[in-house]
């Protein structure tokens, strides 16, 4: 068992996991937000991420350092999200959540196709030229770009929480999340709140995307893993538990990394989903003792 042969790998796996997890966490924030506030599961999440990545990549192609792509990605997706809300999403807000899943699925495959037409189907990546850092005389290797993206996503995450706490819009969003009708009565323009919530979500995805562009590779059709994981993270954290998202995001990342060592990389997604099912069943069985159920 390699993890025992090379004990340093455990630490290595942990760190790698945390760094992957941080990006997923950032995406999950958006999802948790939209889910909690509008009761919509946004399946297009992954596509937003990749699109954000392509924006950064486009900037990089102009010969600008990809770091400066981050604001562009964020803004572009923010605007796109706002538009999409005004055109499509608002129609499904108060409908059955299942409807929203399908609607956003429709959006996602459209975006895929458009990305394929605009950016082509080449596998792309944006080079940062950041170096690598070695710890414990070369036993631990960290790509600086990953560390960078880790820091950025953590900052982003904290920024979101802070924003929710202090800003006027943030408070409006929180109020709406707790009780939309009450908020409406108290004069909150929930439509506006929804629109911005969705836009912010898209923006966050965009930001995460530009990190992905720097850290991993881009392809119009690899959005799914991001959707899937952010999904998991939110479920584990439990709805409306914004701070918990960060924890469960990092945790999941680490867990996944270890699973890659223990049961093999090809099982990553399978593992995640089995885990999801097990968690759900376990929780429902526990509630069943109290004669309640997950709802």
């Amino acid at each position: 068992m390699i993890l025992i042969q090379a004990p340093f790998l455990n630490l290595q796996a942990l760190l790698d996991g945390l760094m992957v997890g941080s990006i997923f966490a950032l995406v999950a924030y958006g999802m948790a937000l939209v889910w909690g506030v509008m009761n919509i599961i946004n399946v297009a999440q992954g596509e937003y991420v990749i699109l954000g990545g392509y924006i950064t990549f486009a900037v990089y192609k102009l010969g600008i350092h990809p770091i400066y792509g981050m604001p562009f990605s964020f803004l572009f997706l923010f605007i796109l999200g706002y538009i999409l809300y005004r055109i499509i999403v608002f129609r499904v807000v108060d409908k059955d959540m299942f409807i929203s899943i399908l609607a956003t699925f429709g959006i996602s495959i459209m975006i895929q196709q458009f990305m394929n037409m605009i950016f082509g189907s080449q596998v792309e990546t944006a080079l940062t030229g950041f170096g690598t850092i070695f710890l414990f005389d070369h036993n631990i290797t960290l790509a600086l770009v990953k560390v960078f993206s880790f820091v950025v996503s953590i900052i982003g995450a904290i920024a979101v929480i802070y924003f929710m706490k202090i800003s006027k819009l943030g408070r409006a969003i929180r109020a709406t999340a707790q009780n939309a009708r009450a908020a409406r009565i108290l004069g909150v323009d929930t439509e506006k709140v929804y629109a911005y919530t969705y836009a912010i979500n898209a923006g966050l995805c965009g930001l995460a995307g530009s990190l992905v562009a720097m850290t991993y590779t881009l392809h119009p059709y690899i959005g799914l893993p991001y959707t899937v994981r952010s999904f998991m993270i939110v479920i584990i954290a439990g709805l409306g538990n914004i701070p918990g998202v960060l924890a469960s995001g990092l945790g999941l990342g680490a867990l996944e990394e270890f699973s890659a060592y223990l049961i093999g990389q090809e099982f990553r997604i399978g593992f995640i989903f089995s885990l999801l099912v097990i968690i759900l069943v376990y929780r429902s069985k526990k509630l069943a003792k109290k004669r309640e159920y997950l709802k």
């Binding site: 390699i2 042969q5 090379a6 340093f8 790998l9 290595q12 796996a13 790698d16 992957v20 895929q112 196709q113 394929n116 082509g120 189907s121 080449q122 596998v123 792309e124 990546t125 080079l127 030229g129 690598t132 290797t141 790509a143 770009v145 990953k146 850290t215 991993y216 590779t217 392809h219 119009p220 059709y221 690899i222 799914l224 893993p225 990394e257 890659a260 060592y261 093999g264 990389q265 090809e266 099982f267 990553r268 997604i269």
Partner: protein, 403 residues
Amino acid sequence: MKKIIVTFISALALLFSYSTLSFAKVVGDKIVLGAAVSLTGKYATNGEHTQRGYDLGAKIINEAGGVKVGGKTYQLEIQYYDDESNAAKAAALAQRLIEQDGVEYMLGPYGSGLTIAIAPVTEKFGVPMVEANGASRALFTKGYKYLFAVLNSADQYLNSAVDLMAEKKKNATVAMAFEQDAFSLDVKLGVMDRVKANGMKVVIDDALPKELNDMTATLQKVKALKPDLLIVSGHSKGAMTGVKQITDLKVDVPMIAMTHCDAAAINKNLGGGGDYVLCAAQWHKSLAYKDSFFGSGKDYAKLFESIYKYDPPYQAAESSAALLVYKEAFERANSFDKDKVRDALAQTDMQTFYGPIKFNAAGQNTSKPMVLFQVQDGKNNVVAPVKWAEAKLIYPIPKWSDR
């Protein structure tokens, strides 16, 4: 209720009428070849290379006077569908091309998995298919009669890399990571044979998921176990991700071998990160093959670049070659009867810019060797087989600390 039914009867009727006016195998002076390629989905990159290869081939042949059958000259035309890199879709589209569009000569899709999906269909209808991108060995063991592949089977891709390693170092250790798909698993078969034959030891044997975008775990193991040879196969995504993360993590391995490096253009896109990587290729422009349409490989490359603005990967070249094969077969058969054409194809024995093409009983082109090139400061230089080598293999790969 009734209204709805009526609408859809009429809708069906419309589809129906469409099919009737759909063109048959040969219309006027056009020979229609059918192809389902991946314009979207996970193979879209190489699907595009394939399509461009086909288009270029048809263009050149047509400009050179087209195909002469029975004293009359015909133009080649290709009808495409998009299989979305999806096996189910590919099979369905093959059905459609043959049954509804009356196509009687098929070109292959991109990728072994999709070719495997289509082959049973073409067999069923007895429609010849010349395919240029289905390398899986499984294709040539099912006794298909109408399948012809201009390329070497996947199990030969990286064999020479393993042999090179064996020359350099006795009982070397090997680390490998293969995507879980028809092509890569087949490459693996070949590699395993050579590894055994050379008495090497496999220290890492990872399987990569189909939606792979992260190989960190594998590479960290590599760092820990320090194998002599690292083999990665996962289409363009695999090559790109692999090199990218090898660079990020500064993984030092004496020899690295991959597939699809040129499709992913790792020599250009990764700022030197791709240097020293050994790449398996069906074809390389520097090879000294020639034909009367494209001239030499270099000419083909120049032509291709002038149109599509990038260096042709072998996926494009072999696709173009497929059309040369068809032209030649049509003219020898001097008929459009698909069985006559099939027999003519079986007789094929020709020289192309892409290499000699001669099919064995299983419809596999055996007369052409694979080549192995190494990325050397941004250029793909052939290093094996020795007959074609334009540069010396650089071994071991210099440590990152000295790069």
